[in-house]
Symmetry: D2
Subunit: 330 residues, 4 copies
């Protein structure tokens, strides 16, 4: 049994805590949140203890690993503490909004060769996993074009936007990571953005819509389309085009129903909305993978460097957005 | 150039006349209808002559072939006259509502070995033709189950029902012919019917809904589902299930558009409605085939016997409907 | 916590035991199988005890309910024992292959007003549950035609066929129950069968393919299409046609991938195969419902009478198959 | 009857000639090609005359309009001659590869206010026409993102590439025009290109793959994805995303067949391939529209300026490709 502590008991932390508590090969030992009520509630539904302090988890020799789902600006410190305490770390994305802090974090813990996994949940989606298998097995030959459509159902509140680091670092960062997962390292980024959805977002100096083009080391072209609002739901699609075919990963639904009426035909049900629902199997597979790495001492398929690279692409996109220039990555 | 005369200038006759007039290898010579105004209008749009009488067409030595689209009860007489005059005949379905008249008609003209083709338009639908090619080429191996869904968009007027000969002889007869086309000759028929759509149809002693099960010589099972009303349009589907796969022929649309909204996703446009629209390419291919047979002296893929067999199945279904018994055909 | 004992540790019993063991509101107390090794293995993976005898479960006052997944011919005795011992019962389908035994079983326990639920798992499939909600809410108005396509991926071994009671009592019984669930009680049954798939099945006097037509009290027509083999997988589809629209419940897949190549386009992944995979969420929901009924003292949506009615339809279909006559039910 | 002369009897010119010859409201008078054999063959199949020279058409007072399907570098001269002779002009895309020639051409004929229509056939595709109607009618509210996927089945021969003016001016120019048709005028263009398909194309200094991002006056973002080779056929799709929904125009097929087998399920037939087949109805509608404009004296929906604007976008894309900079259009 891997014994785990959880930092952060918000929506996502609570979900992780529940998944850990019900996992056959893990034990949720204790949870911590600066908002004690949140920690208490999560403890209640999972049967875990409420940790009195961060140290109470970090210093607990019975705890093998920690999951970090606290606010982004606390990730680096908690990861450093945990890594130094010899604990495996599963940290929610992004590592941090500041590349320098991310780099110095790694500089500080790298020598410990810690098990660090970043919570890019989409890599663990069964459909995307199968897509990756097909690409690796040469189902479409050489990958030439990758198109990722990623649209949220509705814009988040202003408070969230303020702390988010902007569209690229908060939302697109998932797509940047998927682009690397499917198409490999990126050498060129161009980004275009717009404010079409929510005036408040513009007022905060952020964008709500974007189109990004990238080029990979292998020469493939990548397109990302983002919006903070899709009235038909959480739009998550990927198209991989290659020399011998095309693979499409479509949206998903809870049912296989279709309605035929006078207004339209073959009307499908709404797509799964929102990430907690759409990526439920992915979150479970993510914990599985984390436990496997700890038990077998293997490296996560998405480690610290992947978190750093995704942030690097977000920064490059931001630079391109401001200059109109294609940004080259060395 | 094959020179053709047309009997009957109603909706379907007029359409045939237009197809013939615009066909590169035919000339529409003259048209006849007891309602002279109808004939005059069809002549106007096609540039053909109005024939003063039935004989004016039958006795015209310049005319090679006739298309019979007049009321059902006139088919046998016109076919007999035309065949005796040495003309090729394309006759709308059904040949007649009375099996005895159909048989004696054939007894009278068989010795002339006439070119007689029955207007089962669906056999010429490009999708159904391709389905037939796939079945013949063994795409699904031995055919085991065939399911035909055939539903009209809305019930016809009472006057039409009165003269129709009932659901089986008027509407299902197309499905009986398709069943024979795809699955071969039938040895067993069971029919169930209901009045669910239009009280007036029940008042006229007819049914508006039906489910039919048949067994073929080869042992395959066939299902037909009929309704006189489908609010979503003219529902025309076929499913062929075999030992090595399944082929489905779906409904068709004018566009490839799909709409995603808050009410539903992937909403397709309405399906093609009604037979004139859905089977436009089929009607053209039907004329092509008729001309080919005349020019090359080959037999139509759907001849007099096919018209007779379809009626025989309709009569068997009617008997089964009344007795509740499976009717065996010798 | 509802404390449960399980009879029968074969494939399906073992699955139920695992679902019960991992259910938050139940405790799997003990399991029994005449093959002790099977019981021991199931006990091992679930942490339950191995019951030394049937009585060890029936007489255990700590056990509130039993799940019966033993061979069909033991269902009636076990259900009777359990009901008399005051335990709630979830019994796999069919109750028994002999209508007389089923009736006398009920005669013996009815007065105890036991909680008896029959394991018609498909009623609990999320898509079929949603279909039922839509029908009840009038999404398609009055139901006029219901078509159930139910085909197994491959025929079972001869040994299974021998004890199965035949296609109708073993396989179609699920479809008979769904027909009643969606369309209400049945007044007329006609069945046609064939041997197209597996000669061994014919040798055993059973059929491997069938088409059934039924009429409901409400006047709706129902079609069932069965085959013991579908090379493309476990084919489970339902089409509900009504006065104001049509609802289709399609097959389901593990991924939303589609491949476009030179051989074909929009190629979907294989469908879920077989019932354990396809109906996983249904089996979980089935246990949930059973627990709800026990906790709240409510009646299961699928009780003893539903099990009896499904068998009655199977017997009627068998009679129709032998006589060719439509069988009327009173 | 509008009397028409055709310049250029290659594949596309011959197709136009046949459409004109069979059009109820036009007469194909004469055809010209520098390769006399080509002209003779087209004349043979259409019943038109072979014009002895360009002048023989331009000076023929019986001719009301000309269709220009000759090599691109002859378009401007022929258009000028025809316009000065008072004839309506339908000119294949592009007007010319050199913006200066295009501008001076217009400077020379503008004062004549000629009926000039450019052959952007896709605007006349029934599905794209319906898409335009839906957008105009507000089906998705304000358009925010437009994605055009346009991939040819296979790369053209080197000789074609040499004279083509490059991917943007030859192939993408259709997509640039569609972008303006659906999303309005463009203010910003960024292009990325690659050589992934055909080394010969790279050797000729052209690219075979591209991704383009544009911004419209209205603020919408536009993405274009191009490839000179799609092994699954002529990939022609459009996605329009807006504040109240999304519209997708999918690929099209000759049949509505779908195959279910052990290798995959719901396998559709190949998509229509290539432009002559995919856009057959569009080419007919294009001629219809041209005739309507001549008869009614109305302006074509796609005139000289649209041809010029599309070329301007192609030039801007080329500049962006070379500089990596987003190019602003005034």
């Amino acid at each position: 049994m891997t014994r785990i502590g959880v930092f952060g008991c918000g929506r996502i932390g609570r979900m992780h805590a529940l998944n850990i508590a019900s996992h056959p090969r893990t034990e949720l030992v204790s949870v911590f949140d600066v908002i004690e009520e949140a920690a208490r509630e999560t403890a209640r539904v999972t049967g875990a203890k409420v940790a009195s302090s961060i140290e109470a988890i970090v210093d607990d020799h019975q705890i093998d690993a920690v999951l970090i789902a606290s606010p982004t600006d606390t990730h680096v410190d908690l990861m450093t503490l945990a890594a130094k305490a010899g604990k495996a770390v599963l940290c929610e994305k992004p590592i941090d909004l500041d590349m320098d802090r991310v780099k110095s974090c790694w500089a500080e813990i790298a020598s410990l060769d810690p098990v660090v996994m970043i919570g890019f949940n989409r890599r663990f989606d069964p459909t995307f996993q199968e897509l990756e298998r097909r690409l690796s097995s040469g189902a479409i030959g050489k990958l030439e074009q990758l198109a990722i459509t990623s649209r949220d159902p509705a814009p988040p509140p202003a408070a969230y936007i303020k702390a988010s680091g902007g569209l690229f670092r908060d939302m697109t960062i998932h797509d940047f990571d998927l682009a690397r997962y499917f198409a490999g390292d990126i050498v060129e980024v161009h980004a275009t953005g717009a404010n079409l959805v929510e005036p408040e977002i513009e007022a905060l100096g952020d964008i709500d819509s974007a189109m990004i083009t990238m080029r990979t080391v292998s020469g493939a072209l990548v397109h990302i389309s983002n919006s903070r609002r899709a009235i038909y739901g959480y739009d998550q699609r990927i198209e991989a085009f290659g020399e011998s075919g095309m693979l499409q990963a479509g949206n998903q639904r809870d049912t296989s129903l279709s309605f035929w009426g006078s207004a339209g035909t073959d009307i499908k049900d709404p797509i799964m909305d929102f990430f907690i629902e759409r990526y439920t199997p992915a979150y479970h597979a993510e914990i599985d993978h984390f436990i496997d790495c700890i038990e077998k001492g293997t490296k996560p398929i998405v480690g610290f460097q992947d978190g750093l690279e995704a942030l690097r692409l977000a920064d490059a996109a931001l630079k391109s957005l401001r200059t109109g220039q294609t940004v080259k990555l060395d």
